[in-house]
Amino acid sequence: MTRSGRWFTLAALIAVGLAVGAGRAEAVVEIQWWHAMDGALEEWVKDLADGFNKSQSEYHVNAIYKGNYTEVMTGAIAAFRAKQQPHIVQVIEVGTGTMMAAKGAVKPVYELMADANEKFDPKAYLPAVTGYYTTPDGRMLSFPLNSSTPVLYYNKDAFKKAGLDPNKPPKTWPEMGEYGKKLQAAGYPCGFSSQWQQWILLENYSAWHNVPIATKQNGFAGFDTELQLNTPIHVRIIDQLAQWQKTKLFDYGGRKGDANPKFATGECGMFLGSSASYAGFVKAAQGKFEFGIGMMPYWPDVAGAPQNSIIGGASLWVLSGHKPEEYKGVARFFTYLSSPEVQAASHQRTGYLPITLAAYELTKKQGFYEKNPGTDTSIRQINNKPPTDNSKGLRLGNYAQIRDVMDEELEAVWAGKKTAKEGLDAIVKRGNDLLRQFERTNH
């Protein structure tokens, strides 16, 4: 064979390959889904896509890992600016305000379902979960994939050593102090710690005590909202924690989930953490200690407390600029994800909250909560009372930056550089500047 002949053969092969590939793409509608789940959770996401792909033959969902939450969101935004956006993108809850404001960039879920004629009943979903992603008049904007809520983990062995009842976690903040002191007296260097301080100690603390985080229904009712995190009730907890930080009764362990080792190694006897950290703690504590789960503490003298906790996690946003038949596939996929079997399996596998009532009932019927005591704490907590305007969630723009501000100022308070009031005042002032800037760019 001559050299040119060889090249010709190669070119022909490539052409045939392309034709075959194109033929396949025509038959099946491809849907791109960018997500931020790694490790065991990536397998879960893959299984969700595979399950859907096997359940029908018209659509094919590609679940693509694009890095952590921040990277996925910035990646999707960059892709949108370059007109290469995926169909579905998983966005962390703090990005909700940004996504919601980008009216031309997203296709709201309620609209997607209506356009595709998919059966969709917003009432089937848990209001405490979907409320976060729903407009004040009840239209669902994004699809909640993975939601969790903070709970109190406590080390049962440590409780025994300190002479405390291992089946009675503290319920209130004064009890937290009392129990913490006893744990320290029993030789534990720290009473309790917390992960995700903004989410747990500010946002959820506010909702749990039924006080607003920001005006305008925590931002749900408009962009001209202002933070309200420097009220006496907020100063009270931050000041108390700053006092406790001095003796390590409360010990700050870093941003996001960096504090987890403080509980996993047994350094702190109690820990405020996401319900989704459950699986990780089970693994870490295996053979070392037993732990239980309680609800978040509250001040008993605050009227209405405890109210209900709010969620964190991420939801799926559908981006605009795709073909109707592709949106049909996305709608079908969301219907698949909402089915009680898929939901219940996901809930039991990951520790994330179920998003429909049916999935919760199914899990109960399967006896999961009896076999794994404490795992229903999160659900009981978000459903503790019907959500109010203060406990539906929050919708603030530039919120990733505002959360950074909260981290920075709280760190200054824990380090004793600022008083609780000074720190919270700074959060409100700096946060409001960011909110005003967001208001200007989105109107």
Partner: protein
């Protein structure tokens, strides 16, 4: 172009041997220059026959500069006077508001301060340790290769990995070093203590750069003629005097080159370390200018503000370069 100019193009005509050639400190020092001097005396002028050819020859370089440097820099400048939402759906022209907002922010001024301390300390530590190790290694006779190889390995480690290594050692809960410090009664908690956090990132950043400095200092030391040092020794100069009076001045081109490289490194390439070790915290104690550009742009999606910061950074870099080559290089002995 400068270093390859040995006698062929006309550019050598201006750099007569008496004036110290500007900017050439960046190239490989000492040895090569010795070979260049006689060549520049030849003063030969080459003229291209085809007028288009020289342009054609510089075209690739120009295109790369335009596409990868001028165009993005221009985009950045444009962006810095705009206010945009994350998706780029609405854009407003706001003049210099992004800049005024920046300089009205007391935290930005603090970021400046942190950057100066961080860069100065990192470069100083890396240079000092590099020089010390090089002087030591220069004396080693047996097992020198193994010793040098060991000293060079940190350079092959990615900044992020290096950050994670240091983080593991100093983690307040599970870190080995933090544990040891606690034993001797010192509380290490860089998650809360800003000075400790700054110390940790400086250590991690400097550690990575020591190998590079070591390599260049060692090469510089070996280029110093033994005869000069022996002559000084015969004249009765002790080891300390020999080092500060002979070796150190003769090393100055290398040192100058390394000061430039180290400052640039500390300014721009340490992002990965800060990102993994502290994330700029606690309370902005380790937030450098570059880190903030990233944070505001890619986490906060404030592209206008981030671009304005990049513009400020660009001005700083231009200023630094001018100062370095105008004033510091004058004191360098070639």
């Amino acid at each position: 172009m400068r270093s390859s100019s040995a006698g062929t193009t006309s550019c050598a005509s201006s750099s007569a041997p008496t004036t110290s050639p500007r900017l050439s400190g960046v190239g490989p020092p000492a040895k090569e220059r010795a070979t260049r001097r006689p060549a520049s005396l030849v003063h030969k002028r080459v003229v291209f026959r085809n007028r288009g050819l020289p342009y054609l020859l510089v075209a690739p370089q120009m295109i790369i500069t335009l596409v990868f440097f001028i165009w993005p820099a221009g985009q950045m400048l444009v962006q810095s006077v705009l206010l945009q939402d994350a998706f780029g759906l609405s854009t407003q022209f706001v003049w210099f508001e992004n800049f005024t907002r920046l300089f009205a922010d007391p935290y930005y001024i603090q970021t400046f301060r942190v950057t100066v301390i961080f860069s100065g300390a990192t470069a100083g530590l890396a240079l000092g340790a590099g020089l010390l190790f090089a002087v030591m290694a220069d004396r080693v006779v047996r097992g020198a290769v193994g010793y040098k190889t060991l000293l060079m390995t940190p350079y092959a480690i990615a900044p992020v990995v290096s950050g994670v290594l240091w983080l593991f050692m100093f983690d307040p809960t599970v870190g080995v070093v933090a544990h040891g410090l606690r034993r001797i009664g010192y509380t290490w908690n860089h998650q809360l203590n800003g000075s400790q956090a700054l110390m940790l990132v400086i250590l991690a950043a400097a550690w990575k750069q020591i190998s590079y400095n070591f390599l260049f200092f060692l090469a510089g030391l070996q280029a110093i003629p033994k005869a000069v040092i022996e002559a000084a020794a015969i004249d009765g100069a002790g080891p300390g005097r020999r080092f500060w009076r002979i070796v150190f001045p003769l090393l100055s081109p290398t040192t100058f080159f390394l000061v430039v490289v180290n400052l640039v490194y500390a300014f721009f390439d340490t992002f990965g370390i800060i990102y993994t070790v502290t994330g700029g915290g606690p309370a902005k104690a380790t937030e450098t200018l570059v880190y903030r550009v990233f944070n505001d742009g890619f986490i906060g999606l404030d592209f206008g503000g981030s671009a304005a910061q990049s513009a400020v950074l660009m001005a700083i870099v231009i200023g630094l370069t001018v100062i370095q080559f105008r004033y510091i290089e004058r004191r360098v002995v070639y």
